[in-house]
């Protein structure tokens, strides 16, 4: 049986046909955009998952391993070092006070190398503030002043002061004591 197809509708205007052709071409081209975007998205997911995250995990693992190493393997060393630091810091005030009493005997021997008429050393002392003292007697105030000058001019000591200087008429002598501090830095050099 033969079929006859007749298109009795009027033909599309040429203008519309061109417009439709352009639209179809645009549709195909624009369909590439979401596809490309989806491909870029997938690419980013793969790159992030396989490269960037892996690198991050490697660094995280390295950091955790090193932290564990410091926490566990080096713990004895850290404790020992901490003990040394703590104890030396606690001892600093103490060693500043550590001055051998012999230095005061040596000082008097240096200042008075020979027995001098009128000068007599009667005692040695140390106070809890770290000051040393030498108690002595002299024949006169003038001689006592000379003695004090000798102490003051000596470089290894500082803050020289005299205390309790009195004249004893019975013994006919001036007695008193000279107080001073040794310079810690000089003693340790």
């Amino acid at each position: 049986m033969r079929a006859f197809v007749f298109n009795l509708l009027p033909g599309k205007p040429k203008e519309l046909e061109v417009k439709e052709e352009n639209r179809d071409r645009l549709s195909v081209r624009s369909a590439v955009l979401p596809l490309a975007a989806a491909l870029v998205w997938l690419g980013l997911i793969v790159f992030n998952g396989l490269v960037v995250e892996k690198v991050k995990l490697n660094w995280q693992q390295a950091v955790v391993n090193k932290e564990n190493k410091i926490e566990v393997q080096y713990l004895p060393v850290r404790i020992k070092h901490g003990e040394l630091v703590s104890k030396t810091n606690l001892l600093i005030d103490v060693i500043q006070k550590d001055i051998k009493p012999e230095v005061v005997f040596v000082l008097t021997e240096t200042l008075f190398p020979q027995t001098e008429a009128g000068i007599q050393i009667k005692g040695y002392g140390r106070e809890d503030d770290g000051a040393f003292s030498v108690s002595l007697s002299t024949a006169s105030y003038n001689q006592f002043a000379q003695v004090i000058r000798r102490f003051s001019n000596y470089e290894g000591i500082k803050d020289v002061r005299s205390l309790g200087v009195t004249f004893d008429s019975k013994l006919n002598e001036v007695s008193g004591s000279v107080h001073f501090f040794f310079k810690f830095e000089n003693l340790n050099t």
């Binding site: 975007a37 090193k66 850290r78 070092h81 600093i92 005030d93 809890d128 108690s135």
Partner: protein, 252 residues
């Protein structure tokens, strides 16, 4: 004049014409939109993917790279810590020697202080000095303590009244300083009690021995391990210990 009116009318007509053409016909726009539905949908879909998936992923990658940079910095810091700790481990024997010396000269037990007093009495006798009396002070003074407050150093004073010749005193004090003990002559009063020819002196000596104290809650591992490896032991104290005790012992 007529020409002017004519030109005004012409310009008015042109203005109205252009206004008509600029008017947007909504129906016409909708028809065009329906006609271009597929390309518009594609562009919209593209925009959605771009703003909801691509850009956040790029941001995520940049954030991860920033995190990696932070981790690299942390790793660098840990490497330098490990290098420092390796150096400290190499100095282990030296550190232990100094710690042992500190623990010896500044004991933690009272029995050591009692022994110290016995040694002082023995040394006085050995230098021909008469020990008239000795006593330990009841009051213990905290000299310094760690920031944690549960570990520090206290002083234990002991008083000695001694009598003898001047040279005996000098030798006695020197022998104490040459010994293994660490103490401070906190107070001293040495006075000639007779004429110089008789050479008799009386001494009141207050010696202070130091002792570490630790509270019950003190955990040495925790407190010491928290101290940075970059902190250095006090050089003055190290020099003091090496010159006064360690080098001295090595020379023996």
């Amino acid at each position: 004049m007529e020409k002017d009116i004519e030109s005004i009318i012409v310009s008015d007509i042109e203005k109205t014409r252009t206004q008509k053409t600029e008017k947007v016909d909504f129906n016409e726009v909708m028809t065009e939109a329906r006609f271009h539905f597929l390309p518009l949908l594609s562009i919209a879909f593209f925009a959605v993917i771009l703003f909801t998936a691509v850009i956040p992923n790029v941001q995520k990658i940049f954030n991860t790279i920033d995190e990696i940079d932070v981790l690299k910095e942390k790793d660098k810091g840990l490497n330098s810590r490990i290098t420092k700790l390796e150096e400290l481990r190499d100095q282990n024997a030296q550190m232990q020697e100094i710690i042992d010396k500190i623990n010896f000269i500044v004991p933690t037990g009272n029995s050591e202080v009692v022994k110290f007093r016995e040694r002082i009495a023995g040394s006085a006798n050995a230098n021909a000095l008469g020990l008239e009396s000795s006593k330990s002070s009841e009051t213990l003074k905290i000299i310094s303590e760690l920031e944690s407050g549960n570990f520090g150093i206290i002083e234990i004073p002991s008083e000695f009244n001694i009598r003898g010749i001047f040279l005996g005193f000098r030798n006695f004090l020197n022998s104490l300083y040459q010994g293994k003990d660490f103490f401070i002559v906190n107070q001293m009063g040495l006075n000639g009690i007779k004429s110089l020819t008789q050479d008799e002196w009386a001494g009141e000596i207050n010696l202070v021995k130091y002792q570490f104290f630790a509270d019950e809650g003190f955990d040495p591992a925790e407190v010491y391990a928290n101290i940075s490896e970059n902190e250095v032991p006090n050089p003055d104290v190290i020099n003091f210990l090496q010159s006064r005790f360690i080098t001295y012992e090595e020379s023996l």
